[in-house]
């Protein structure tokens, strides 16, 4: 049984990559944001997970709306970043974990989650910014990453309840993998923000903090929201909370909060970090 040791949530805003590239971490604007990360990095360096299951959404790099998978999973040995159109430097290849990826894919389809299974997958800032944040200098090549991509771009999008169930099914799949490898789960994106329309600029700090509380202690409470509820309360891109909810579903055992940080705004967004310890279910 592979061991799910814990989870991390983080923003994946492109501006973070620019800030790191331009060494702005200690500036007044960025410091309250980057100060949230050293405890997470220390935990990762101490626990040394072999594999990261990383929930993210593609923003029009790999997938266009000609064919838009609701849920997709990468099963490759390696993934590449590419030009997204606006000048973020591409980063080194991301190492995959093909065997466990295929095991999860097999288990998920059997379990009723009909995934799009990807042997080639360009990964965008949704996946790469969290890796750069956790391993500064892009020193992440030793960690194997399993990308799980959720449609947050085109309605109909999977609802929060469904995303939690996806996470649980991935949790069961990992638990049934015959290996002693250590797995950590990343939920990326969010929290409240809206980039588009006359309503651009909305941030709902109170709701973000409430979501972070519920993610730790009562994730089922978040499934009462529909995507349209999330959009009304937290802005059009607050649906990225679905990646955090999916992450939490993977943790089917005992969860303990080790660290959190919340800072807003970063770019147009409420930005949260959670570090969760996980003890495997009996």
């Amino acid at each position: 049984m592979a061991n799910i040791i814990g989870a991390v949530t983080t923003s994946h805003i492109p501006a973070i990559a620019n800030a790191m590239a331009n060494k702005l971490e200690e500036t007044p604007y960025w410091k309250p944001f980057f100060d949230g990360y050293p405890p997470v990095r220390e935990w990762l360096n101490e626990k040394k997970p072999d594999v990261i299951v990383l929930f993210y959404n593609d923003h029009g790099l790999e997938f266009f709306i000609d064919k838009k998978p609701t849920f997709s999973i990468g099963v490759a040995d390696e993934y590449h970043n590419a030009d997204e159109g606006w000048g973020i430097a591409t980063i080194p290849p991301v190492t995959g974990e093909s065997e466990l990826s295929w095991h999860i894919a097999n288990s998920l389809v059997h379990d009723g989650f009909d995934m799009t299974i990807c042997q080639e997958m360009k990964v965008d800032h949704g996946l790469t910014v969290p890796l750069s944040l956790m391993w500064p200098g892009n020193d992440y090549g030793h960690v194997k990453v399993i990308p799980v991509c959720i449609n947050c771009e085109q309605h109909p999008m999977p609802q929060p309840r469904r995303c939690l169930e996806l996470g649980k099914a991935i949790g069961r799949a990992i638990e049934s993998f015959d290996s002693d490898m250590k797995v950590a789960v990343f939920g990326t994106g969010g929290l409240s923000h809206q980039l588009d329309g006359e309503r651009a600029g909305i941030i709902n700090r109170e709701f973000d903090l409430e979501c972070m509380d519920n993610l730790v202690s009562d994730p089922e409470a978040l499934t009462k929201f529909s995507n349209l509820d999330l959009i009304e309360i937290g802005g059009a891109q607050a649906v990225e909370l679905n990646m955090w909810i999916a992450m939490r579903g993977v943790l089917r055992g005992k969860v303990t909060e080790l660290h959190r940080n919340y800072h807003a705004p970063i770019s147009n967004t409420g930005s949260g970090v959670l570090l969760l310890d996980h003890e495997m279910p009996d």
């Binding site: 109909p156 700090r205 109170e206």
Partner: protein
């Protein structure tokens, strides 16, 4: 409640749903091409001709030439693809926010700070 049953509208927001995905297909496909330098260069050489290549409507083409983000959204543009158009114009998300809300960039940034503090 399902998407079919829940037809509510959110003020100041264009949901990128099936209607918009169909209406904006060519527009978004053009913006998707801005992932590549070849597409960006070809657009910059002759913006109107590049719009025609992707079959944009006259309204969409005018909105591209005018950098009119709100009209582009109403005409089926997805913000994720329009963001690539914005990048080509060297505009960041605060610039785009200001354009859409009618504020100056500084006013928009001040609103973000206020919202971020929960005020």
């Amino acid at each position: 409640m399902s998407y079919i049953d829940d037809q509510r509208e959110v003020e100041g927001t264009v949901l990128f749903d099936h209607r918009m995905a169909k209406k904006g297909y060519g527009l978004n496909k053009m913006c998707f091409s801005f992932n590549g330098q070849v597409g960006r260069d070809e657009f910059s050489q002759d913006e109107a001709a590049y719009c025609d290549k992707f079959g944009l409507s006259e309204v969409q083409k005018k909105a591209i030439l005018d950098k009119d983000i709100l009209t582009l959204l109403k005409e089926g543009g997805s913000i994720y693809y329009l963001a690539k158009f914005a990048g080509l114009l060297k505009l960041n998300m605060q610039d785009i926010g200001a354009l859409q809300t009618g504020m100056s960039v500084d006013e928009f940034k001040a609103m973000l700070v206020k919202n971020g503090q929960g005020k």
